[in-house]
Amino acid sequence: MLSNTRCQDIFAELLKYSDADETELIVAGGASELTRFANNTIHQNVAEEGYTLSVRTVYGNRTARASTNKFDSQSLKRVIAEAASLTRQQQPDPELLPMPGPQQYRAVERYHEATEAVTPAERAQAVRRAIEIAEKSGQTAAGTFSTASGMQAILNSRGLAAYYRDTLAEFSVTTLAADSSGWAKKTAPDVREIDAEALAMRASRIAVQSRAPKECSPGKYVTILEPPAVLDLLGFMFWDFSGQAVRDQRSFLTGRMGTKLFGDNIHVTDDAYHPLQFGAPFDGEGVARKAVQLVEGGVPKGLTYARHTAKAMGAEPTGHGFPLPNEYGEAPLNIVVGGGTRGVENVPSIEGARSVEDAHSVEEMIASTERGVLVTRLWYIREVDPYKKILTGMTRDGTFYVEDGKVRHGIRNFRFNQSLIDLLNCVQMLGIPERSSGEESAPMVVPAMKVREFNFTEVTKF
């Protein structure tokens, strides 16, 4: 992995070639390996390593970016020349700010040697054990086991120097039975938190429980959403908590900040320092990330701001900007949705942040349900209406009918068309927030939810 010292050496050499008013270097990359299995055998097994060097130059109030993955002196000269050439042809930007100076960063430790040290053979052994669990139930397993180490560094000619490294391990498994399936997934910086066999057993159990699915009529049901389903739904909401999105009037929060939009029990923070979160403590300009209370008691109260957005909107930068130049501004990337108070997971870094008093397990949610639906995960979610925040998508890999406090049987998968605003106005029970990973959104810290009604509009054939 490229070290901090190496990045500083590259930047020192770059500066020799640059005659720009200001120069910024971003280096990012790493190594990742992934073992993929299906039909109870490994069918794909890959490794990649690569680094990108990206240079932004500023001449007056013009800026542009050029990138390469070649680090020799000739390439450094060429990428500086390319950035300079683009910048000189660039339109002036009256809102362009000087690059930020040195920053103080709060330490986060998300690098684990154990993750970086995992070998292809170790991944294959874990996959084999997961396959054996599926085979014992007469099922077919498919999934991935990946391990990765990465780094990013930002340096600029005003003295800012930021460096971050981390690791990531992920195991995802789908088990297929004759007419049903189950799924489980976990993502963590430390591979020792990944229990492939436990995940395979959970997926296998879901496939068994959902066998011989019956067809239920579409309609509005009391619905219990497991954390991955909550994650993949709510993940579509947070791009709207960008100051620039509100300024552009493309956010559903346009004209709604400070109004009561969701239920009293909805509290959301963006908190890069939460113990279950991922990622660097700085943004695309190297500005230190702040924790931001986005929603308090159902009221959207905070937005994220890059430096230039903050200046334009009379706010303070929050450290959520993307590398410049860009047209999107910023977005929260470390979402923590408040849940119950049990467990160390629910410790937002924001002083005074609140969460609901009582957390409930999924089992408690089921036990309290007279008639409803339990959803393991969702799939192919897309936005239907950007201001009503209606999303559509499908259930997948374990959808159940619940009656009189018990899971009765699997049901055929539903299509839904559901407004997130309506959803967050009818949350009856919340679980303990947990680090969750799905397929539509980056991992976040979210609880399971029981909602009074969820709009299932059609049913598919399986």
């Binding site: 073992t35 299906a38 390469t68 042809q89 070998t119 053979a121 294959a124 009037q249 004209g255």
Partner: protein, 484 residues
Amino acid sequence: MREFADAVLNHLDRREVQYADVRVIDSRERNVATKNGKVGTSSSDESLGLGVRVLAQGCWGFASTDDLSKASLEAVAARALAIARASALAKKADIVLAPEQGVVATWVSPFRTDPFSKSLDDNLSLLLRADAEMRAVPGVTLAEGSLHFRRQQQLFVSTEGSVIDQTRVISGGGIEAYSFSDQEIQKRSYPNSFRGQYALKGYELIEEMRLVENARRIGEEAVALHRAPLCPQGTRTIILDGSQVGLQIHESIGHPIELDRVLGSEANYAGMSFLTIDQLRKLRYGSDIVNVVADARLEHGPGLGTFAYDDEGVAAQRADIIKGGLFTGYLTSRETAAAIGEGRSNGTMRADGWSRIPLIRMTNVSLLPGEWKLEDLIADTDDGIYMETNRSWSIDDRRYHFQFGCEMAWEIKRGKMTRMFKNPSYSGITTEFWNSCDAICNADHWRLWGTPNCGKGQPSQTMGTGHGASPARFRNVTVGIAYA
């Protein structure tokens, strides 16, 4: 590039390796975007690296690197082999490849104007003129435009003797106008949503699109949508414009015919397919007039799925997918073709760069033109809805049940387009929908649309695909349930 590929292959112990290939890729990109009269993204990117795929002990191993030093090339070869050995720890059967002859070839995709010969200033000037046209319309609250150019040279070298040097030049771009008013966001895109139209062309594509000339119209349409009534709900006759037919093909034909998906390789992520092997040459996929091909040849057009050889060194081909409504073929690779007893791959394996392994990807999966003029088709429709430009898309993980939303619709009454509808959507089951197709417009209306953002695989890969389509009519379709 050749010396890098040879260095990797020479490091492999041929006694243990049954097959190997190396792809060395040198690429260059430019991305430019504007928003509300200002420049957004303006960046260039270059990348050089290689990936090696090794078949040993009957299993695949793949490794990639952008460090092209001698030591690194030795290490990447060793890593790929070690990974193949590890794969064998959970093996059920040896992988068998359909046979293929080694090929020595050089191919450069045709273009009139090298997009990189145009200055950034030219690019920005065009987008800012279109931007000004859109924002000249009262009520337009956000105007965006973007251009994308990519040149990729790939050298493919295999242990079977192939040495294929292939260069592809891709251009793309589009504009979008938004209007926020009365608690509603409306949007119009040109020439297509999600960043416009993309093709295997040079800068001539951008000139052909006439972005500036169309900018004011789409601004006006975005504003007019606020005043339009909501698209009614019910079982209706619909006519889809060519771009929406293109996406309908992509989601409900292109993905389900990927044979790796059918055989289960994507079960954990993208899902599987309702098109099980027993349905080949038996299933009535569509009505008699539905004819679909997968065609990667240049003769089909300059699509994002056009090339000379795929990433296994298999020559570009045309395959019948649906003929006269009958399901007749999958997209295959050497491995999957052998698995179902086909004699040869139909050449659809592609990777999105040097760091990723090739997967079965759509080439140009196209609906062949029918016989109707669009004006005649509308005149022939007594009561229907014409929908254009995709706004949302979703389909289940076996590709049965879909729902699409479009940006704009028009009511058709007694053979005439009457009033505009907002927020149109439709849904259905794939085979029922294609069997309800009773009219397809002719070659005058047929266009090869580019979808630049097709995701598949783990690690995720983004690929460009092509879809030739013309407007088509479908009967008894569920409309409007998204807003019910």
